[in-house]
Amino acid sequence: MTQAGYPEMQGPNCPLPISKREMVVIGHGSGGQLTHELIRDVFQSRLGNPLLNAGNDSALLDLSQALPAGQRLVVSTDAHIVSPLFFPGGDIGRLSVCGTVNDLAMMGAQPRYLTATFIIEEGFLISDLEKIVDSMAAACAEARVQLVAADTKVTEHGKSDGIFISTTGIGWARSTPRIAGDQARPGDAVLVSGPMGNHGIAIAQARGNLGFQSNVVSDTAPLNSLVGQLLAEVPNVHVFRDPTRGGLATTLVEISRQSSVTIELDEKAIPIDPPVRVACELLGLDPLYLANEGKMLVILPAEFAYTALRVLRANPLGNQAAIIGHVTKRPQPQLLLKTTLGTTRVLEMLSGEMLPRIC
């Protein structure tokens, strides 16, 4: 039988084993020759550094010089599944680096080292894997972190979905005063580093769910430079938090409960890009509940709000930063929104999946 594109072979023949594959196969997860080739050709060539290239079971990190007195080690881990794997403004590789870098940064930490686990479905294109690892390498360079250990597993076709990436990161942060979700205090100002909802709309569009075209691009970005610059000028930050899944509203409800305070937002002040607003109106979505991957909330004493705003706006990642509300004390912790008409309503956490309305 002749396969399209291949010349018909005459007589008996003994094909050579395929040495250069276009797809990930089960053998790539066997720990044998194919695994080594994959590590060398795809991972080390892009993400390589002496710690990763050592090829031992673990990376040995010498922190004796690095960890100054009074600093604490900060650790975070995050698994990344996203559909589609490539979207306007990023891909799962960039997301997997930024997700963990930002989780560390939100504790006021400077991230230093990452590890990554790749769970890859048999049949995944090597060329796609290379693109993903390329963008991880770029994001690591941007965030000034090193990937020091990695693992790859391959599942049978249909047992996973393309590629899942789990990353773990470590960095260090000052131990006091603590920056955490329970530190918001009455009198604090609430700032956001840029417009809300771009990532959520970009993903919905990449899934082909919009039914129309928009030019919204995901905001996926490492925030540690922004955090570092801000802390250098305004050390008095009480809370950093990145409003990822569940969006701004869910994140601030969490903080109001952790800190037992009421947070009052001014709807007019919340930056939302016009295309995001229009997409939300058409689909019946609320931008305050859409995911962001390169934005952060900053809560700090009101007297530092304008200095913080200036520092944030000086960085391209924060050039649309805004003061969006303040923290007060009320009998019960809640998130209130002063609407554009001057009325007030309560914002709740997102419950379940955000669903478009029927009409």
């Binding site: 229009v278 008409l341 009325t343 309560v346 379940g352 669903l355 478009p356 309305r357 029927i358 009409c359």
Partner: protein, 365 residues
């Protein structure tokens, strides 16, 4: 795009002027029902109820398609979705509506192929791409969703796509208004008619209702200025003892409506009796496929049966949907019943009165 972002319909200044006019003419209390869940959502999202004089009470009507779709239809949807060779398609809201036990989300988690579509034409496309599967679309919604559903059936018929069917559950607004106004416990004195429904159907259908029940009906849009304008025109009529049908949504609605859309609806569908969740059977209040389109009715392909099912005994959704009670009257509201664990359908969709109250009014600001 200008109309979508046009700040005029959300202008604080216009809003304040309208509120002042409403205050100036209101001499006694009035109960006004907004039919449409989209209006309920906007009223609570913008806190418009906080701006009205104390005597004006807004009653949230049954115009949330998710809320009024009968338990039987949802159980049938679940039964169909669980079949091995079926791709079940639906608007997103319906996935979280509890049936007697499960919802479509849990059916999906258990392996059913349930897909959210934004338009019924997507379901027809899925059918064309999966000829070995039976693709079923859950046809819910008011007159607003019907033209596109009719269009999808016509498209499937023209193109010989025989593996596409619908589960018919569409409902009509005018019969529900009759049911509310003729009920002995009715409190509604004026209606804001649903602007999007009227964009399709016009408002000639409402003239006999306004005359028969001596109730003013004002066709109303969805932006704050639209809604306050609709309320102002309704109160003006009530204060003057008038009961006309008026149009406060002229930029989208004419008396005749969209005749092309009405033609497509009449070509494919005909009125049938329908059960409304929480309200009961309303004669000729639903749409079924005409005999020549029967092969597109999922009932022709599956034995679905007609069980009688019981709602949670705690849920007072029926009274809420008829405007006789508010969600705050319900002992389960915010306790056993939340958007995460809804006991009744009005807690599911953001258009549902209970969910809207939960999101915007659970804790009085």
């Amino acid at each position: 795009m200008t109309t979508l972002t046009n700040a005029n319909f959300r202008s604080e200044e216009l809003t304040q002027k309208l509120v002042a006019s409403i205050r100036a003419i209101t001499t006694r209390p009035w109960n006004i029902m907004e039919i449409c869940g989209g209006q309920t959502h906007a009223i609570l999202q913008y806190g418009l109820d906080q701006l009205l004089p104390a005597g004006i009470q807004l009653i949230h009507g049954p115009g949330c398609p998710v809320c009024v779709t009968s338990l039987e239809s949802i159980e049938q949807a679940l039964k169909i979705a669980r079949q091995e060779d079926v791709i079940f398609t639906s608007f997103g809201d319906m996935l979280r509506v509890p049936g007697a036990g499960q919802d479509l989300f849990s059916a999906r988690a258990s392996g059913a192929d349930v897909r959210v579509v934004y338009s019924p034409m997507e379901a027809v496309k899925i059918a064309a791409l999966n000829s070995q599967k039976k693709v079923v679309f859950f046809a819910v919604g008011f007159e607003t969703t019907v033209p596109s559903i009719a269009q999808s059936v016509l498209h499937a018929k023209r193109n010989g796509i025989t593996n596409f069917t619908i589960l018919p559950a569409n409902v009509l607004v005018p019969p529900a208004m009759h049911a509310i106004l003729s009920s002995p416990e009715n409190r509604v004195q004026g209606f804001l008619a649903a602007g999007h429904v009227c964009a399709v159907m016009g408002y000639w259908e409402y003239e006999p209702i306004a005359a028969r029940y001596h109730t003013p009906i004002v066709v109303t849009g969805f932006e704050p200025v639209d809604i306050l304008n609709g309320i102002l025109m309704t109160v003006q009529q009530l204060e003057a003892g008038m009961h006309n049908v008026q149009n406060a949504y002229r930029r989208a609605v004419t008396r005749e409506g969209n005749l092309t859309a009405q033609g497509i609806i009449a070509q494919v569908f005909e009125p049938v009796d329908r059960n409304w969740r929480g309200i009961g059977l309303i004669p000729l209040s639903g749409l079924g496929l005409r005999p020549e389109f029967q092969t597109f009715d999922v009932h022709e392909h599956f034995e679905l049966g007609h069980e009688t099912l019981a709602e949670s005994p705690l849920c007072i959704a029926g009274s809420v949907l008829r405007g006789v009670a508010t969600p705050h009257d319900c002992p389960a509201f915010g306790r056993q019943c939340t958007p995460g664990t809804p006991l009744g359908a009005p807690m599911v969709s953001s258009e549902g009165a209970c969910a809207a109250y939960y999101r915007y009014q659970r804790v009085k600001a």
